[in-house]
Symmetry: D2
């Protein structure tokens, strides 16, 4: 069964180095790194899965998956990597229909992952104290056609949370311990708090604050990922490895 690109589809173009470019075929023009400005309508009628040539470069044409949306993201602030987003979603038990709050929004990387987890009927609320971050992130979400699920607010979460009965709150701020009381109040019983912090001292202060409230199942984990290189010469772990991203602290509200 061959499926073709239709007008107004958002497609991802993937080059041979696996760089990704989200393109709205209903748009007027778009810019592809190494190719320049293109007319997106040339993609209409192409077969999903085929490799095409644009300006002497080869691209596969695909429907954008979550990975494509994340990897095609335009970065500004430091992002939460997909590998950590995966653990956040799993450990907070985020699922379809839930209402989840994150602070701050950064470049919208975690936001995209959270939206994908709560679709088609849930809601993501994003606080950030910087308007420019919100604007940049919402542009990324719009490109991924996920902006309808997100309400972004210029707010400091350490000053309070308006929402109630939340399923989960994810903190990616410098002083997560200052938000813990607000998070407890905003969560529904059984709801999850998650805090992402690169520094040990942030983990310590946050865990100590968490322990002053009615939270159970408090734990902090570190996730390390290493790629394996499989070639004709043989198999070995990759020499390239990211030594650290951040610690993930989880806790769960009870009465």
């Amino acid at each position: 069964m061959v499926i073709k690109v239709k007008k107004k589809d958002t497609v991802v173009l993937i080059d041979i180095a696996f760089r990704k470019f989200l393109v709205d075929t209903g748009g007027k023009t778009d810019k592809i790194k190494g190719v320049g400005v293109i007319d997106p309508s040339i993609l209409v009628g192409k077969k999903y899965g085929e490799q095409i040539e644009i300006g002497n470069k080869q691209f596969w044409v695909l429907r954008p998956s979550l990975q494509d949306k994340l990897q095609g993201l335009k970065r500004r602030a430091q992002i939460i990597l997909p590998r950590d987003a995966a653990h956040i979603i799993m450990n907070c038990s985020v699922e379809s229909g839930q209402k989840v709050l994150e602070a701050g929004i950064g470049s919208g990387s975690l936001t995209i992952a959270l939206v994908t987890a709560i679709m088609p009927s849930g809601k993501i609320v994003s606080y950030d104290i910087r308007e420019d971050f919100i604007e940049h992130a919402m542009k990324n979400l719009k490109t991924a056609k996920l902006d309808n699920y997100v309400t972004a607010k210029i707010k400091d979460i350490t000053k309070g949370i308006e929402e109630k009965q939340l399923d989960a709150v994810v903190l990616d701020i410098p002083d997560p311990w200052n938000a813990v009381t607000h998070v407890w109040k905003a969560l529904k019983p059984g709801g999850y708090l998650c805090s992402y912090s690169p520094l040990i001292s942030q983990v310590e202060k946050t865990v100590k604050e968490i322990e002053k409230h009615s939270f159970i199942e408090v734990k902090t984990i570190e996730n390390i990922q290493r790629e394996m290189v499989v070639s004709d010469r043989g198999t070995r772990p990759s020499f390239n490895m990211l030594g650290h991203t951040g610690y993930l602290t989880f806790a769960r509200k009870v009465l």
Copy 2:
């Protein structure tokens, strides 16, 4: 806002060591380790989030989250841990509405995580060559009230795949390389293959077979997780650590 347990709710009881027991309050009797047989109707009317006493033991009463369903699972076969399930779902870009095939079903651990990711409108198909595994896993899925999303088949995936246009196929079998051709045919363009294997030789054979087909973005990763212990004495990584679970190989179909 106080929400109370209603008749026919499935609740999770969590003891102070954070062991979890899923209980159907509409059931006749249930068995709780360390307590014995209980009448589930005693839970009706309890407040979600509160701690109650049953037979001299304390339990928190909560609505079961994904984590509760996974941790409350009755194990038989070796399970894919939630941490690996998180990477599978993220790297295969599994989302609401998709159709995903897994083989084998094991105890249904990955199945529960996959169902949660594709709800409320997707579908999981599970192949296993052992009928007893399917029965056991489906019982676990029923306890979690997720069995409606799953079609289980007594089938050997290395002999062929009936389904078409799948979004992802996850292999947890001893000889994943023998299924690669079938997987390619069953996937839609842009769909993901994932293979979970504890042994390097399995990875090597599978990657070499994948490279004979039209797959892109082939990679193998290893995920290591370590808990941090935060106490009044200070903070340190946990001495207890699982050295290995399995390697995760991913690939993506193109034409």
Copy 3:
């Protein structure tokens, strides 16, 4: 060339599970776990490298290597593992002829490794505040016939160091930061300070104290070791893994 056990040799007996027992063939009796009391003189005349039977159990007879001395050690206090001792010796550039101070002595595990590194002409000085630890450790050193290289003192290193012009000082105490000034004074220019600490807060306080003194090349490392299991089924990392031993901080005195 066959070499046989002579009277007064210290030999190591290794059972099939690779447990190790140091035996002085000049002694009157010795006790082997799972065998009971033996007369060590029965070992005289055995060939080094051969497997013999004692009380229905099989043992290889070998000259004790450093590993045998470390693994045959009777433990009392928590020990510094050989893997960490290796990094200490390498990063402190410990070599034959040097004078090295350690505090505390623990069970003498690191002491045995340090003695082996400074032999045949160097000297190890060990401080410990507990006389019983010193006695126990010196007994272990005597069994390994290495006690002549060690001067043990019941002393608190945070109160001062008597020795001068030391090549290295290794701290394995709860409050290493309180010893830093004394260590700087006791080291020769270019000499190394090493501190072994399980907790992050210990590392932080010690590094901050080190930075107040004329030290260069300050660094803290964590070493993680994982065994690979090679069998007919295939190769994989071991599931058993120690998640943490301690952080190693190194620094080097300049004027």
Copy 4:
């Protein structure tokens, strides 16, 4: 006690980025990166431990430690890192007075570490099939004034070993399995074989060959090292991390 640099001392100059330059004060000229050619005699009379200025750059003047010799090494072939050398020496129980064989010699990095471990009375024998590697490595050893302990031979260890009654043999060659029989013959009872290999398939073949011979205590380990960053902002693991160096396989000869 102030000690000054004397004529013919070899000193290490360490710049503020901790780059290291071994200089023979008895030499005619020497070349320092970023400074150019210097007359080494200007160092005579300087105090060990002090910081001096040469051509507008600051250098600490120290006696070269093992670390300085290793870090000051001129690299040509891929080197065995000091961290792996530490594990090799510890697990092979290398100590003063021993006779150890390595193949190949590479840039002499492991050679320097081994010499330091067997001094002042032992001996290192190095085989390499490439004369240019031997020449380059021996130059490095001469700079470190350690060349007297080393006998280098242009030889292929897979063709046989001339030496007998060796304490340890360390293999860093592409096909270590082809040397195992020779190694067994050349070792004394209780002597250690070590093989350093980046690839899993090398480990597998070598372990399988080892198991055909009378070796005990066969094990393969992987060592991972991560630096901790301690700053005023807080403490965290370093983002920079080397994902892999090589697997270390150890075995011990018995009769």
